[in-house]
């Protein structure tokens, strides 16, 4: 549906570096990256709002690289909603219909149906200033959908919302996508949003793509150390592989499943897969390391420890019980353990 080929853009202090992306018809695609990674720039390229140095943008088989935004049949939804403040909710939703050959009466009927489906029916005569955050968000969605676009572009659709609304709106967004059949391209810095909403996705950093795959695969098998820490595998160690053993953080481990062929690479673990305990706590098939507690944090109502093992720091989960009853504290010597199947391996160069 959307095919981006070798997008290149040189800006002062930033380069978008030969980005290739392929998004299938009807899918929900998440482009993930931190602030300044260039993800919004890619979105604006698809919308026709950012001037390319080279590369082509195809939508639905049409080469739209040279077309202005209004000829692309894409609808944009910004994080701050960008509702038109001088128009009512209904007028906002009906704004684009006339440019897509939808007659006024039919347009109004369709717009009302959309507002109904999104629970906004009784707000149709309100001005945006009098809407709550979630209502604004849903109005912006309705406006984008009302002109039956081929592609809906979402710029951080959930990050301006309070946590208690996020869950609700994720659900709404997913529902809308399933009902409408349009192709959704969302950029986000939040991996959880991508996990819940998207089928496939890509990770971008400093203007270069790091990985493009199904979201589940990105989550389970990140391709680079950056992607690994982005999806929550924040313990990343340089590792050496040799004769069926893997060495990192001053320990060498044997009997690990699925060892790679390369000799130098990175091994990574999610903090919630590493448990702090004493040697007797772990099942026999787990792998253990010795270290000392460097820091102990209570985040909300759980505890995490930073443990130093031969010059490498790692973050691990701590049982409440360990802290309160066994008196774990800073500088306590501890054993940390992990199950072999949780260890993920990445090659040195991608």
């Amino acid at each position: 549906m959307i095919r981006l080929t070798a997008l290149h853009m040189d800006l002062p202090g930033f380069t978008l570096n030969d980005v290739d992306l392929h998004i299938r018809k009807g899918e929900f695609f998440a482009l993930m990256g931190s602030t300044g990674s260039g993800k919004t720039l890619v979105l604006e390229t698809v919308a026709g709002l950012a001037p390319l140095d080279s590369g082509t943008v195809e939508i639905g088989g049409r080469d739209v690289t040279k077309l202005p935004p209004e000829a692309r049949r894409v609808s944009l939804v910004y994080q701050d909603h960008a509702l038109f403040p001088h128009l009512t909710v209904l007028q906002n939703v009906m704004y684009g219909q006339r440019y897509h050959g939808i007659p006024k009466e039919r347009g109004r009927r369709e717009a009302r149906d959309l507002l109904d489906a999104l629970g906004l029916a009784r707000l149709e005569n309100r001005k945006p200033a009098r809407l709550s955050g979630g209502e604004k968000q849903r109005t912006a969605m309705a406006r984008a959908l009302a002109c039956r676009p081929d592609v809906v572009l979402l710029d951080e659709p959930l990050s301006s919302l309070d946590p208690q609304f996020r869950g609700e709106l994720r659900h709404t967004l997913k529902q809308i996508h399933e009902d409408m059949g349009a192709t959704f391209l969302m950029v986000t810095h939040d991996f959880t949003d991508a996990m819940v909403l998207a089928e496939r996705g890509a990770v971008i950093k400093d203007g270069s793509l790091h990985q493009q795959d199904t979201v589940t695969n990105i989550f389970r098998r990140p391709a680079t150390p950056f992607t690994a820490s982005f999806v929550g595998m924040t313990n990343v160690f340089p590792a050496r592989y040799d004769n069926g053993s893997c060495a990192f953080a001053g320990h060498s481990f044997d009997g690990l499943p699925g060892l790679p062929e390369w000799r130098a690479g990175f091994a990574a673990l999610r903090p919630e897969d590493v448990i702090v305990g004493t040697a007797a706590d772990f099942p026999a098939e787990w792998h253990i390391m010795e270290g000392t507690v460097e820091r102990l944090e209570r985040e909300g109502f759980t505890w995490t420890a930073t443990v130093r093992c031969s010059g490498q720091s790692l973050t691990a989960m701590v049982d409440r019980h360990m802290v309160l009853n066994r008196g774990l504290g800073i500088d306590s010597p501890v054993t940390v353990g992990f199950a072999g199947e949780h260890l993920h391996h990445m090659p040195k160069d991608v």
Partner: protein, 251 residues
């Protein structure tokens, strides 16, 4: 601090108040019935209004361009726009006369078109537009800047072309700024004197008439005209303040 602040306010207010209260009611009434005075005030107002209208038509695209584009040399262009504020007023008059004097090609061209600048309403409007333009362009520009670009982007992505976007989104959201800019342009135009006296002593606009009364008959006979002009300026002021820009309408 308050004392020093108060002094400044008095320094501005007292001369104006003194002038307002100087003429007796009788003289003021007489002046209000003086056909020359009324004609000149009317001329001042109509030419200023025309200048403001022209500033809107020609200045809006420039304001939009400056608000929405960053380019090397933007500062130079912005300086150029501000220049008429800083050029001594008689120099403005001299400059416009220099350009349109019949021994220049442009002046010749104008003459062949039947346009005369020196001593005509056309000339007055030209001068007033020249001195008032920066006020309009700067106010309109800041109005356009206050509208998030993202709104225009969304409008484009929904299928509206750039012209439709301007008329359906940009203009409805910043017409207040544009109106304020026009009022400021008009107020500045009404106050102009130094350039007008060079380009068009006749037909007499109000400040020129007052100057003539002052040189011919002295302070006492110029004061009633001054009162009328202060009152007209104040009316513009009230108009301007009643339009005071809402700070966050675009949110």
């Amino acid at each position: 601090m308050t004392i020093s602040a108060g002094l400044v306010l008095l320094f501005i207010a007292i001369p104006l108040l003194t002038t307002l209260t100087a003429p007796t009611g009788e003289i003021l009434l007489e002046t209000l019935n003086d056909a020359d005075v009324l004609k000149s005030v009317w001329l001042s107002m109509t030419t200023s209004a025309m200048a403001a209208g022209l500033a809107f038509v020609f200045g809006t695209p420039l304001a939009y361009f400056l608000a929405r584009n960053d380019f090397p040399g933007k500062k130079v262009v912005e300086s150029l726009v501000d220049l008429p504020i800083m050029i001594p007023h008689p120099v403005v008059g001299i400059a416009l006369l220099s350009l349109t004097s019949p021994n220049m090609w442009f002046g010749e061209f104008l003459q062949s078109m039947g346009v005369t600048i020196m001593g005509t309403r056309t000339g007055i409007v030209c001068v007033l537009l020249f001195v008032g333009m920066p006020f309009y362009v700067n106010t309109a520009k800041s109005g356009i800047e206050s509208i998030p670009r993202r709104m225009e982007n969304v409008s484009r992505s929904l299928g509206a072309g750039s012209a439709a976007t301007f008329f359906r989104i940009t203009l409805p959201l910043c017409w207040r700024h544009m109106l304020v800019g026009m009022i400021m342009c008009m107020a500045r135009a009404i106050s102009e004197f130094g350039a007008i006296i060079i380009v068009a002593y006749h037909p007499m606009i109000a400040p020129v008439l007052m100057y003539e009364r002052f040189t011919a008959y002295g302070l006492t006979y110029s004061q009633p005209v001054a009162v009328i002009l202060i009152v007209v300026s104040m009316l513009f002021f009230l108009l301007l303040r009643s339009m005071s820009l809402p700070k966050s309408e675009a949110q």
